[in-house]
Amino acid sequence: MDALEAFRRETRAWLDANCPAEMRTPVSGDDDICWGGRNFVFKSEAQKVWLARMAERGWTVPGWPKAYGGGGLSHEEVKVLKEEMRAIGARSPLESFGIWMLGPALLAFGSEEQKQEHLPRIARGEIRWCQGYSEPNAGSDLASLQTRAEDAGDHFVVTGSKIWTSYADKADMIFCLVRTDFSAPKHLGISFLLFDMTWPGVSTKPILLISGKSPFCETFFDGVKVPKANLVGTLNRGWDIAKYLLTHEREMIGGGGGGLLGGRSPGQVAAQEIGTDGEGKLADAFLRADVARAEVDALAFAATMARYKDEAASGGKGVGDRSAVLKYYGTELNKRRHELLMRTAGHEGLEWEGARSNDGERPRGWLRTKANSIEGGTSEVMLDIVAKRLLQLPNA
């Protein structure tokens, strides 16, 4: 405990000396986030400095081994670092699919060469990755994917298309599920490939969503040549990696639902925007009852995420299939949170363009959350996973 307390003091002092003041203000939108990558344009010098200082310490990926650009911190130390960052309002220095998804997959399944090549570049924010999973005819039924990788001696030739590829138009590289055996059962003919988005045959097309934004793309592969060294894990066993990553993704998406770790809760927003009575209670009694219940659920859910992580850390195992609990509950909570924010906004939530509403930030955010219970596995798929794997209920 003393060592952890010493680490806390040291961390606090370092953060205080090294986190620029501009990086201690709340993130106001997507373009405040540092995504890294070859083409990333830093929004400010402070953002650039903050990334460089944190990366130098390995603290963009504090739990990864030092040998691959990480901080080599224990689970408890990572928690302390996050607590201390939260305490001063420090922004995350770097967000990326490389950190959330590919890194953990490579640590678990990658060859030593692959780890050496890719992990440090993810940690330093040099390469931005995207994820090629869903296809037009393989959504909830992901394992039926049809993008093919033909064996051509020392390389594969990849042909097909992906959909809902987040930020494919901004990414440098893709980690991609492809079919390498069409005669095997659907889960046993899939492989996991890495390749560059600038290679010949790769093209992308953004998809306009109901929120008016285009974070997702369609991605097309027309005879893309991928060296065999870029195969991760065993040929035809890519589904094992995919499942492992889906677990990570579900934990991550579910984590957005607490809604209390970052900004204010809907009840707090409502108190400020609608006002309170003489006792300090939100003036709208109907709304107050609903935001109060949402607050209870959000706090209880935050405790659940913490408990699962602590259990995983102390048991030496991952969260596993319980990630479906986090994904289902967290995304449903997040949708509810945005419904409450829209109720709070009233007429002020109806403007789509204009400075008054920061171009309809609230309704666009509300609409965006409707995808939360679809992306990364629908709520219904999550409930199936809970019923079948955690509760062991019989098959139909």
Binding site: L299, A300, R307, Y328, Y329, D384, V386, L390, P394
Partner: protein, 378 residues
Amino acid sequence: MLVLNDDQVMLQDAARGFVSEKAPVAALRKIRDEKIADGFDRGLWRSMAEMGWTGVLVPEDQGGLGFGFVGAGVICEEMGRTLTASPFLSTAMMAATALSRAGSPAQKERWLPAIVAGEAVIATAVDEGRRHDPAGTAMRAERHGNGFRLSGTKAYVVDGQAADAVLVAARTAGSAGETGGFSLFLVETATRGLSAERLSTLDSRGAAELTFDGVEVTADAVVGEVDDGFPLLEIVLGAGRAGLAAELSGNAQESFDRTMAYLRERKQFGRTIGAFQALQHRAAHLFCEVEVARSAVLAALQALDADPAGASLAVSVAKSKASSVARLAAQEAVQMHGGIGMTDAIDIGLFMKRMQVASTLYGDADFHADRVARARGF
């Protein structure tokens, strides 16, 4: 770390073994069917004392185990699974908290060893109306000579029908609605002017309405500060709320587990009903809710151990969430059991009845959601 430590896991195993052997649901049926007036089995309570449970919140230097709130909650959760009737909440949690924190040396000497030995039952009397409202206390304690004279009625006093003494909240100043002017008194139930009307209750455990008709006590009966007893009362209620939340979590888990067993065994339309997706999704949703309630309960118990005076937000989150989840679990259990779920022959209805009592006591889901909202600034 939001996990049980090794000692707490051992306590949980021991508690689970003890209640399943000594206090299964059948023991509650016996109390109900034989109309046992105490609402619990005194022999069982003495066995719990031998296990050390009665001293779980009594510090070691005062003869207890000093296991803390997480330990106490673990026991409550297991008792919730078998609907164990006992004065654990009133005596080993609430009274032990009050006396070990704020009792005078004489009060500690008189009562703590008796609590630890399983020889004394002490109830806590706060509410006066149909709703939990500690600040709304109107009962007066007028100064009288060197002591006080208590007059008023206390509604639904848990274990009041069997108690040797009662910790009672009364006004030595101020008026209903204010949190100032509270004093807590420890009054032996045999004191002249104090009468108990036993209530036969939904959960078969009984309770009492206590009437104080000019009950005279000396100044030695005061627990804690005169006129400034509300903070202590909040800590005592916090212990009760967290204990009930833990019990409700156990109640919900058991209802859920029994329902899952039924879904795997019952056949209709030529299939096991657990294979129907309509039921699978309801079961899965309920599982998620039960998991979330469990986390909130553990967070509250740990917060109480860290700082009992600063734990009220975490405790209210837990009591609110556990109350509503146990309600959902009870409703789903009856519905998924179908007709048999409505019969007294199986235990599901007993879990629903105790859920109703435990979720109402010391603040229901709405009461605690309101507290959470206040604490969070709205």
